[in-house]
Amino acid sequence: MLDVFMLSRIQFAANITFHILFPTITIALCWLLLFFKLRYNRTGDEAWLQAYRFWVKIFALSFALGVVSGITMSFQFGTNWPGYMETVGNIAGPLLGYEVLTAFFLEATFLGIMLYGTKRVSNRIHTLATALVAVGTSMSAFWILSLNSWMQTPAGFEMRDGVAFPVDWWAIIFNPSMPYRVGHMLLASGLTASFFVAGVSAYRRLKGDHSREVSYSLKTGVYLAALLIPLQIFMGDLHGLNTLEHQPAKIAAMEGVWHTESGAPLQLFALPNSETKTNDYSIAIPRGASWILTHSGDGEIRGLNEFEGEHPPVAPVFWAFRVMVGMGLLMLLMSWTCTWQVWRRGAPDRLWLKGLVAMTFAGWVATVAGWYVTEIGRQPYMVYGVVKTADLVTNTPASHVMFTATAYVLVYIGLIIAFLHTLFYLARKAVKSSVKDLDPEVAGGEI
């Protein structure tokens, strides 16, 4: 039987997994919408406005799902992890408070004008509203990542009788891992949105939609992805070095380094075995991990043996990390090939279009995997080196948590299905209307 602790963890994991999917889309998609709008304002080309109108619907849908799951998350600090706020509330509270005050209200309020305001306000104000929503979503990401980074690399506080008190707010907000985490996440959002836009546009094109709107969206998505992915790989490397400095146990789990060694190999494939403390079926590049992390083939990597009882479970972190990196490499291959094809002949050929459709949600996979590395990698701590997750859990009866955890998971599965269903329904509907515009004969025909 699962206890309250495990159930609360499962419930929270389900919640953050579901929640992160939507901000990951909306943070960058809103900037893309602003781009579409600005292109339209500048060129007067209706196709940009059509792209805006199509994507703003999907933005609204993703935004709503992000809002409702975000509210759920904020309640769970109190319902499932009462110890969290009692221990570090003096620090987490104000950061969350600033998120609500500076970001939530801004995005939620101007969303109304962005979605429904075109008839009521001037074009200029509507563009401004779009920009404000974009600023709001990014600001929201900044505050929440600042708090998350503080939980990973706490700074600027002191403990008095088991409660954290702020000493230096600047050090708390701009804690050692914050810049890397914010950069990594914003780029991840950019990549998620660009593959998402490219994938859905490729789908529309394959369905016979040759409108300029689709071609603009497709190009924007592909070019943006090609531009962002090398930046992301570079940022990921910096982030890794920062983690090595501040959370060596997490790095040891990511790389599957069981014992401190110089010239540690880079595990391409392995099954980490926590019984024998070795990697089974390992395929590895000699000295690879040392080379990547210390930029020297002989560099020493501290192993899990140095963090007995204080290191995260190895297999999930190890695997999630490989999924994230694998996705990143696939994105590099995909976006650069497609960019080359667009550049040479105006559009990718059918095979690569299908590839783009297959990679519509590549960003989701990579982002979720990345968050698993980060969050599971911090265990057994909630705030690294300060408080353990197990000490913060609620004393609500297990049966209640069992009920809510099951209910949340079912609701989330239902919502994901509804989201995907509606997304592709909207895409097909757009194909239908644009084919009708191009050729009246096809109107009403099967697509």
Binding site: K57, T79, N90, F105, P166
Partner: protein, 334 residues
């Protein structure tokens, strides 16, 4: 106790009260519109959705702020309240999820699914209102548990739902025209009666189960002053009924009156509640000073709040102005 440690918690309980009150009025009307939604008339449903479309998301953010202030300023109370109300809190969230997504899906999904999403919206609004009311009831009885507490929770669930339906109906009187407006005016009258019954029963039960509340209300001389609250409530209800009696008027005369009365009644009821329980953040158990965070944290957020809150109120006002007048069909940027 003196200095910052004394007055910071007072400021924050005031801010939290403000957020709760604004939430109850703003999300109150859009929850109410959801509760009242008739399933048989598709055009009415579209207009009703249009009347709250540009606002509901920002309205709900006031709840996040209220819970946020509780969490920032009174973390001990936050854990205690949400821990004790674990299941009702879940149902509240479930309701909010259901109605929040239904709103967006209905506009985009295939027409065949629209009725299904509209039902989700209505059900979600109802679940959210009932659980809010239930949570309020359990909260004011100080989490004592037992049949009495649960009974009061149920009573309060019904009253809060009636109150939201009431303010929702008043909102529709302002925002709609023709047949739908007449229908809304009828609903406003009916739910106002429900609300009066609710207010009276809560006002009777509350002092009876809590001696502290009884003393606060029935000690001279302040009792004379406090009588003003029920008196002004009664005046507002009278104005409302007189106005609705001859409804509709030529040229949509003063269709804002019911909504304004509703805001006034919400404000007064909230004052009464706040007066009854101050300075407790958990009635009878925990005062605001016992539950407060470190002054350095409160100071840090207060500085920001003093700048940001007026800005939020300003742009909220602007958006309500932009979408003022009668509700128009919702279209995405067309």
């Amino acid at each position: 106790m003196s200095g910052e440690a004394y007055w910071l918690p007072i400021i924050f309980i005031f801010l939290m009260g403000l957020a709760v009150l604004i939430y109850a009025v703003l999300d109150g009307f859009d929850l109410g519109v959801g509760i009242l939604m008739p399933m048989g008339r598709p055009e009415s449903r579209d207009t009703m959705f249009a009347s709250i479309g540009p606002f509901w998301d920002a309205n709900e953010t006031w709840l996040v702020l209220a819970v946020g202030v509780l969490l920032i300023a009174f973390p001990t109370a936050h854990s205690e309240i949400l821990g004790t109300l674990y299941l009702p809190a879940f149902f509240l969230l479930f309701g909010l999820i259901l109605r929040g997504v239904a709103f967006d899906f209905r506009a985009k999904a295939h027409a065949d699914y629209q009725l299904r999403w509209d039902r989700c919206f209505k059900t979600g609004s109802l679940i959210a209102s009932l659980s809010q009311g239930y949570m309020l009831g359990i909260y004011v009885t100080g989490f004592e548990g037992g049949a009495l507490s649960i009974g009061f929770g149920v009573l309060s669930a019904i009253c809060v739902t009636a109150a939201y339906a009431f303010i929702g109906a008043c909102w529709l009187v302002r925002k709609t025209e023709g047949e739908l407006q007449l229908w809304a005016a009828k609903r406003a009258r009916f739910t106002a009666v429900l609300m009066i019954v609710g207010l009276i029963s809560v006002s009777l039960v509350n002092p009876l189960i809590s001696p502290e509340v009884f003393d606060k209300w029935f000690t001279l001389p302040q009792a004379l002053l406090l009588l003003l609250i029920p008196f002004m409530c009664a005046v507002l209800f009278v104005v409302l009924f007189i106005y609705l009696r001859h409804f509709p008027y030529e040229g949509d005369f003063a269709s804002w009156v019911p909504f304004a009365c509703a805001i006034g009644i919400f404000f007064l009821s909230f004052q009464a509640l706040a007066y009854s329980y101050f300075p407790y953040v958990i009635p009878g158990q925990l005062t605001i000073w016992q539950a407060a965070s470190a002054p350095e944290s409160l100071m840090f957020i207060l500085v920001g709040a003093l700048f940001v809150l007026p800005t939020i109120l300003t742009y909220t006002f602007i958006v309500y102005r932009v979408f003022g007048g009668k509700a128009q069909a919702l279209t995405y940027g067309d």
